[in-house]
Symmetry: D2
């Protein structure tokens, strides 16, 4: 694995590296960790990389790595830069034959996202998008139960992703994470919408297996002087006639990372909360409520496969994130041996395109006084 | 107290009687418990009432009670009939000088609600609406904290009221509670909307002290053949610029009585869940989260006044309901002695009018493809 | 019902009256509410009792009430005085043919408790002990599941009853509730042990249907200058070979009324917490955990019978307390009509004797350096 | 790092490797993964180790590693074998100048534990014991608050460690984890006592900073034919006069890994549950209860240092385990540079000796009919 972005002081770069390393299937071999060559090299050194594999920019990295021996060169690149710096390196990676792992949202525009999707497809290369919350065992259990029709026909969704860290205008104090997220030139059309709303959207589609077809959105910009949304409330319609609400916010004061989803079918319902991720509560039409936990009795195989340690030993954010990398690595290994795998089970370019379409539909609805917009 | 409706087998009649009796301030002295005279008398007898005060209809009750001696006759009437049978007895009660306690929603139309409000005002009579959830100590604590500006300026609301008992078409099996609720001639314009959506609306306005000004609504009719909504998703806007979502449902399979609210200010936020009503969770911008409980340290006086027993001894639905009656009785006593009271703290005709306006706005928005409608 | 004790300002007197009144089966007709005649009369007046039925002492009450007409006189007496004032009025009540409801612990000595038990039996009179926590629907569900062998053979118990209100020496500030509880002449051998430890002991025996046979106890007196325990830790052995722990305290700072029990069989286990009483969590050897709630699917009839309102509408302390009175009243009615009832389901003199034996065994073990003592 | 034990199929070996690797400070360079040379080599290969550093036994490993160049050879050894195989390799490691990380309980006898402690001290080598639960941020917050006297004088402890996986006699079905744990020749004097009871003991002493001085224990052997305890109930006394209970079990059916502790001072109390490790609930004498979370407001520096990712992103078992290795590695680095560090903050040989003394005291008390035994 090579990495683009994620230099010293980057939160998400460290997360990606820990996640990629966790199962001993992926080794970091090179990186363009910063647009400053000096910082990139310092970052690489701190990670015990040889100096000649710490590149000053991604173009150089692709060119040099391409010429290395197969056994030595990176297999794939992991792109962990801010949103506006996803498209160019991803495109160049694919053009040069490297598989891609990319942070979300995939790109700034639908056209870019579709171009990457098409390119990966044409080249026969893998493209993973790190919608990390789909990596939790109990999220996989939820998806498997619905796919297996245990909840019946889905009727109703509630999803929320609430944070409070932008309650005050911390970007004015130079807060690095905040600065680029409130800047349209770096974040794209969506603020909180792109940063966390897309996680909520992806979680709905991943768990239910249903496409969001229409949204009616009311975005808020509560922080003084913000150009992008820091809060949103959305009505949802799904392809099968189900309806729902989404609420996301980065000004929900006191909330840390309160991502939660409830799905109601006509036979049963489920709820899952990211802050207590090792429980899946399922309620039934005519039975007592049940609580499922990782590695416990009666789970679907996808949930079991996503658990590393015995029941009752909590797994968290990093382990779920690592499941994206693990399933990607398994797929990569299979592909390199020309094997097919039944269900690769990680988010792909297709999820990325959906996310960008969602962002655009929400913004369009909001601008049009919350009238329904097609996703 | 006299009662209209609430005969044998009525769930809500029994609740009203237990709630009214709890604090020893109110005595049931007569009733027109059913439109069948026989059933009314049997119901009254089971309640140890003398036969001559078990009336065959409410008209008769008002006429006869009016002629009784002051110390003997009922002071006020409690109306616990289905929605379509609120207006006529309430109007006649007021016209005959009786104070009124009325179940919600107040009436079928805005005009009726406003007529009752005006009549009560003109006659100088009290009118309580049993939005019982406002009776919980922790709801009163929430309201007092916001009124005291502890949470700062309110920005965001999430409210939900989820039940699952209409998941299947139980009305087709003769289910008595279901039958009138799915019938527009008895329920009015709203199904779940009127039955539980109005509780959610009232809770928002009671806790925040802010008026809902606009709604964009998407109602669902998931039960086969239903004429009224059994599910709804609504975008909310409040008078001060706050935004939010409301979700209510009676087809949320597995849910029992999941009413919950979250309110976010710019200094702090709170959340309260009806199914675990003795906790109020408050999160802060820069302090650890706190949990308040009834009769515990540092509560506002309104919350303390609403608690009957020591901290840690749970109070529930009946106790909260009883608080409506208790505060009404306190006001009634004060009024009868020509005393003024600072804050009567129970829902009134004004809340009733708001509820009916809310129902009409939601239905209008839903019919108009979810465009914003003024409340 | 006549009442002994429970005058103005008494917490528990008000609770008993509300509980007794809740189901409309019991009417308060007289009382000796205080050892001060004036206070007794003022208390009775505040309860709308006629002056001639507010007695200055219990002896007078029994004598006068006995002479009243059957339809007018009290059926039974409710004794809500401090512990040292249970025996004498209970004995006199039984001798004069009145049924008894008595607060716990029953008496100060085993001999007194056994004398009352024998007297009630000889006279054919009912004797209820208000171990109110057994009135919760989910406690009844727990008992019914174990009785039905759903959890298999019981192996392990954990029970705790934790309060913090005696953390500091509030008795030195004149705190009325505290004063008599820390006084051996009024409380008996046990402090927290008698006040709340006996509730824990009774809950174990009620839920499991098994007798505690041995205890090894280590009592604490943490409050400065206290003569009685304010904290206790106990090893438990049950008649069937099960083992366990009990922990109770009134110096567990921050705790309100944290009574909780866990029972482990060889097929399943359950846990119940008084502060959130409307959930019973059941875990299984080979199935997912289940949560039961009052009035929901698949409950045993005893749990259903103890629920008043629909699932999801919380019932609390008063409702559970009222279930003791309700079941006592049902039994009384049946008895007065010479009917037998299958399962009277309220705590009796037999539970009272067990409680006093438990107190004595715990104190004996503690004095003997925590060696095992037989209950 | 070299590893002893932890071959293919070992649960705990994989955990140790993931934990050691997480922060990029420790590299696995060799191992004696199994007493079967073939299995050791296969295990090492699967971990990408060169064949010549996969040893057939630990003696060989120490001899060969000792002769390697400093920059290449292992710095320390991690011992993850069953209990009876801790002493010999730990002793040989220390004798040959290698630092040691060792799984708990440290040894089978107090003499062995003290010998290792003395040897490490004499040689100036580090010795870490993997009481992994002390690695949780909220456990560190708990310890820091008590050390800082925020809870006042500690009076009462409740600790439990409940599992259900030995409810049935799974050892008879060949269950590998169960087989050695129920075998006194491999586990030592304690069954569940040594396996999980020592974690509970260590957690009490780590959080409170107080030594357990006396125990009165009642052990159970519920599984048919078991020679060692699978359940235990213990009264605790601490050096400062505090009292408490410990309950541990591996036959607590339905429990997964329910380790929990409550500590009561005279100013405040705290509770922490391993299955939901990212919350620390603190209750106060005269303020509302507070909930602390990792990386949130107002934490002590030790808790902050133990958190890797932002508040609301759950960390779990592996991250806490990794904190033991991380702090050990920091200490090792400091030591190798002859630097002193203020607070090394990981469990050491001293904790190991305490654990073995605890096991022996508990067994002695149990054999002596639960009389108090000194730890």
């Amino acid at each position: 694995m090579g990495m683009i972005g994620g230099g010293i002081d980057s939160f998400i770069g460290d997360v990606h590296r820990k996640a990629a390393a966790m199962d001993g299937m992926i080794e970091l071999v090179c990186g363009a960790f910063s647009s400053s060559e000096g910082k990139s090299k310092r970052s690489g050194q701190a990670l015990y990389l040889p100096e000649n594999r710490c590149y000053g920019n991604f173009e150089e990295m692709f060119i040099e790595e391409k010429d290395r021996q197969v056994e030595e060169r990176m297999d794939f690149v992991s792109i962990v830069t801010p949103n506006h710096l996803h498209f160019a390196p991803a495109k160049m990676a694919l053009e040069n034959g490297f598989h891609v792992v990319c942070d979300k949202p995939m790109t700034l525009t639908v056209e870019e996202a579709e171009e990457l999707q098409a390119l990966a497809s044409t080249k026969g290369l893998l493209f993973a998008l790190t919608h990390n919350y789909t990596g939790h065992p109990m999220v996989k259990q939820a998806r498997a139960m619905i796919r297996n029709n245990e909840l019946g026909k889905i009727r109703k969704i509630q999803v929320q992703y609430l944070q409070g860290w932008l309650t005050t205008s911390v970007e004015k104090t130079g807060h690095k994470q905040a600065l680029w997220r409130v800047d349209p030139s770096k974040s794209g059309l969506g603020g909180a919408l792109g940063d966390i709303g897309t996680h909520a959207e992806n979680l709905v589609e991943y768990i239910t297996g249903l496409a969001l077809t229409e949204v009616a959105a009311d975005l808020g910009k509560f922080g003084e002087g913000r150009a992008l949304d820091d809060d949103g409330n959305i009505l949802l319609r799904l392809e099968n006639g189900a309806k729902g609400t989404m609420s996301f916010s980065q000004i929900a004061v006191g909330e840390e990372n309160n991502l939660a989803i409830r799905v109601y079918g006509d036979k049963g319902s489920l709820s899952w909360h990211q802050e207590n991720p090792n429980q899946l509560l399922v309620k039934w039409l005519d039975k007592s409520a049940q609580t499922f936990t990782p590695n416990s009795n009666n789970l679907h195989k996808q949930a079991l496969a996503a658990s590393r340690i015995p029941a009752g030993h909590p797994e968290g954010y990093l382990e779920a994130f690592a499941n994206i990398y693990k399933n990607f690595a398994i797929h990569l290994n299979a592909t390199s041996q020309n094997l097919k795998i039944e269900d690769s089970d990680y988010p792909t370019a297709s999820d990325g395109v959906r996310g960008i379409k969602f962002i655009h539909a929400v913004v369009a609805s909001d601008k049009n006084n919350s009238t329904w917009a097609k996703v």
